[in-house]
């Protein structure tokens, strides 16, 4: 007979603020956090052991912030990243700034040196609170352990409510390690949205009733507000033509007859001409960014503006709005009472749409990126997610992939963060393990967070990476060609590593697609490969993105090809 093991009574370990932090996050519905440990954040990592919140270890803190950012963009829920003080915190900064400019709900938690050491230039001490001030929606430096749980709930409320954004919690080591009483607190209610202004709505209705050439200009605010359904219903009922910002793509499906494409610097000709000709511009959750407007004083020169946004701070910031409607877009759009677009304008818009120049593959066997991306879009499941990096490939994805909903296309619009694509794909894939997630990247961007291939491998994430390799920093090269008299400066990457071999070293499936006749077979093999997979696609280094509105030019002066004389 075996004796029963003696039960050793151990006192329950004390409940510390770090555990209260995790419990408060769990109460907010947070299931996973992205991070990287270090000295000052160690109490939190200690509390993570055995906690129900899952931690995803990345290989660089920037990737933790960008993965949390991608997770938040895909799901609409708060993405959480964790780093230590000093270099851990400064490495998060790019991902926080990216979330700030693109209105992404992100919670960044940074360790800080103990309060007694703060202000003494201690090891790994940096003023994280101060450094991040201009790129956060709000931030907290927690000095009282008993307040930490309440701070987490307030931080989450700020990050997700109204116009979302990043919130920082800087947490000194001694505060995190302090013994506290469990708070048992929960999420706080969001503040009520501003009520629609009846007089502004009446003025908007009058402008809409009189408009002969209305255009809807839509942005990412449509996704943030959950207003895709309301937008589609409005367009279906009225046929008002729609142009979109980069981040608003998918608000209306790309193949909808009313959709004219992206506007702005690399926008479609139809979208840009329709905006320049319109007499009423209805801006829905967009912010007149310079990449969208071109030369601002020549943007939509004949139009009055109705601006619908959640954030009053955007109204008349860059373009005067005759009517401002602040509130919930999903309620405001149906309340507009728009009538069908006049037939003559619909005919004109249909002409513009039909006349859109289509990029043709040049002769030869080199892979033509626009055609490849169009084919990829056809092969992918309708609900696949595409993340992008920044540069020429990002614009080709915007122009040539079929966008069915906004949260299927994750792209760094405001900050333009090279290195965004792979960590964002990691975040999106962890949010939805069975979804097809594709990261379209370039040879410049890919190398900025290449270390995250190890994260793909570690967690067995079946992200598909399509690497368009023009052996150059292509977008910079294009500008040097067109606007700097072909004086090429530091754009050559022709000594890139063998990307397929590199991916294999990290344990990925990898192949190269070098000739267009191999495209169908290689694309299919790559999409069906087990686990994470990379398809390396060398393309013509001279390929440019067209159309292009030259800097400081009005959007109707876009170039469709390289002009004979291109001195700026």
């Amino acid at each position: 007979m075996v004796a029963e093991p003696a039960v050793i009574e151990r006192p329950a370990p004390p409940y510390r603020a770090a555990e209260a932090l995790l419990d408060a996050l769990a109460a907010e519905g947070v299931e996973l956090v992205f991070g990287y440990p270090g000295g000052a954040i160690m109490p939190v990592y200690d509390a993570l052991v055995g906690h129900r919140i899952r931690h995803v270890l990345v290989r660089h803190e920037q990737a933790a912030a960008l993965a949390a950012n991608g997770y938040a963009r895909r799901t609409g829920r708060i993405g959480v990243c964790l780093a230590t003080s000093g270099p851990g915190a400064t490495n998060l900064l790019t991902g926080i700034a990216d979330a700030f400019l693109d209105s992404v709900p992100l919670l960044a938690i940074t360790g800080q040196v103990a309060t007694a050491l703060m202000g003494t230039d201690a090891f790994q001490e940096v003023d994280t609170f101060g450094i991040t001030l201009p790129v956060v929606k709000h931030s907290f430096l927690v000095r009282r352990p008993g307040e930490l749980a309440a701070v987490v709930h307030e931080a989450c409320r700020i990050a997700r409510s109204g116009r979302p954004g990043p919130v920082l919690i800087d947490l000194p080591k001694d505060v995190a390690a302090s013994v506290v009483t469990p708070a048992g607190t929960g999420p706080l209610p969001d503040p009520p949205p501003p009520a629609p202004d009846p007089s502004a709505l009446a003025r908007a209705r009058r402008l809409l009733a009189r408009a002969e050439r209305p255009v809807l200009y839509t942005g990412y605010g449509v996704a943030l507000a959950g207003a895709e359904g309301a937008l589609r219903a409005l367009v279906a009922a009225t046929g008002i033509p729609v142009v979109s910002t980069l981040k608003g793509l998918g608000g209306i499906p790309s193949d909808d007859p009313a959709f004219l494409g992206m506007l702005g610097m690399h926008g479609s000709r139809a979208a840009n001409l329709a905006v320049q000709e319109c007499d009423l511009l209805i801006c829905v959750g967009a912010r007149f960014d310079d990449r969208a407007t071109g030369r601002l004083d020549a943007f939509a020169p004949r139009a009055k503006v109705i601006h619908l946004d959640r954030d009053p701070g955007e109204i008349s910031k860059l373009r005067y709005a005759e009517v401002a409607l602040c509130g919930e877009l999903a309620r405001l759009l149906p309340a507009l009472g728009a009538r069908p677009a006049p037939p003559a304008w619909r005919r004109r818009v249909a002409e513009l749409r039909a006349a859109e120049p289509q990029p043709l593959a040049p002769p030869g066997s080199a892979v033509h990126a626009p055609s490849l991306l169009r084919r990829l879009s056809e092969l992918l499941p309708a609900d696949a997610v595409i993340t992008c990096d920044v540069g020429q490939h990002q614009m080709w994805v915007a122009q040539h992939c079929l966008h069915r909903s906004i949260r299927q296309h994750l792209t760094s619009g405001g900050l333009g963060t090279m290195g965004f694509g792979l960590p964002a794909a990691i975040g999106a894939q962890l949010a939805e393990p069975s979804r097809t997630v594709v990261c379209v990247t370039g040879d410049g961007s890919f190398m900025m967070n290449v270390q995250e291939l190890a994260t793909l491998r570690r967690y067995g994430l079946p992200v598909r990476i399509l690497l368009l390799d023009n052996a150059a920093l292509g977008m910079v090269r294009q500008w040097q060609e067109l606007f700097h008299r072909e004086r090429y400066s530091e754009i050559d990457l022709s000594d890139n590593p063998d990307f397929a071999a590199l991916a294999r070293v990290f344990g990925l499936w990898a192949a190269t697609l070098a000739r267009r006749e191999e495209a169908e077979e290689r694309l299919r093999a790559w999409l069906e490969a087990p686990g994470p997979a990379l398809l390396h696609v060398p393309i013509d280094p001279r390929a440019n993105v067209w159309p292009l509105v030259p800097p400081n030019r009005p959007n109707h002066e876009q170039l469709l090809e390289k002009p004979p004389c291109t001195t700026a």
């Binding site: 609170f129 101060g130 001030l133 201009p134 929606k137 709000h138 931030s139 430096l141 000095r143 700020i158 409510s161 109204g162 116009r163 503040p191 501003p194 202004d197 954030d311 009053p312 701070g313 109204i315 008349s316 910031k317 401002a324 602040c326």
Partner: protein, 96 residues
């Protein structure tokens, strides 16, 4: 153009810095500041100059979590007056 803003802030670490930083980053020069701690809040008066719209600036400041109220010491346009309401704190006081 010269303007004067009066703000009521939460007595939180970084509140004054956040407001002053925002004013400069949005393109205005700060010409003078007065700050005092009251019961439960910080009063901040800022004299500033700039060519951009002070109404837009006031709305950008009003959306900061630490900003409880903003006054433009000149009549703001009707739209700005209506939306200088702080979502998280008490309603903004706007001088008519």
């Amino acid at each position: 153009m010269h303007h004067r803003l009066s703000l009521r802030l939460r007595p939180a670490e970084g509140a004054v810095l956040r407001v002053l930083g925002s004013i400069e980053r949005r393109g205005f020069a700060i010409e003078g500041i007065e700050s005092r701690r009251e019961n439960g809040w910080i009063g901040l008066a800022v004299a500033l100059s700039g060519e951009r719209s002070v109404e837009v600036l006031a709305r950008q400041l009003a959306r900061l979590y630490d900003v409880l109220a903003v006054e433009i010491e000149a009549a703001p346009d009707a739209y700005t007056a209506a939306c200088l309401q702080q979502s998280f704190g008490e309603p903004a006081a706007v001088r008519p």
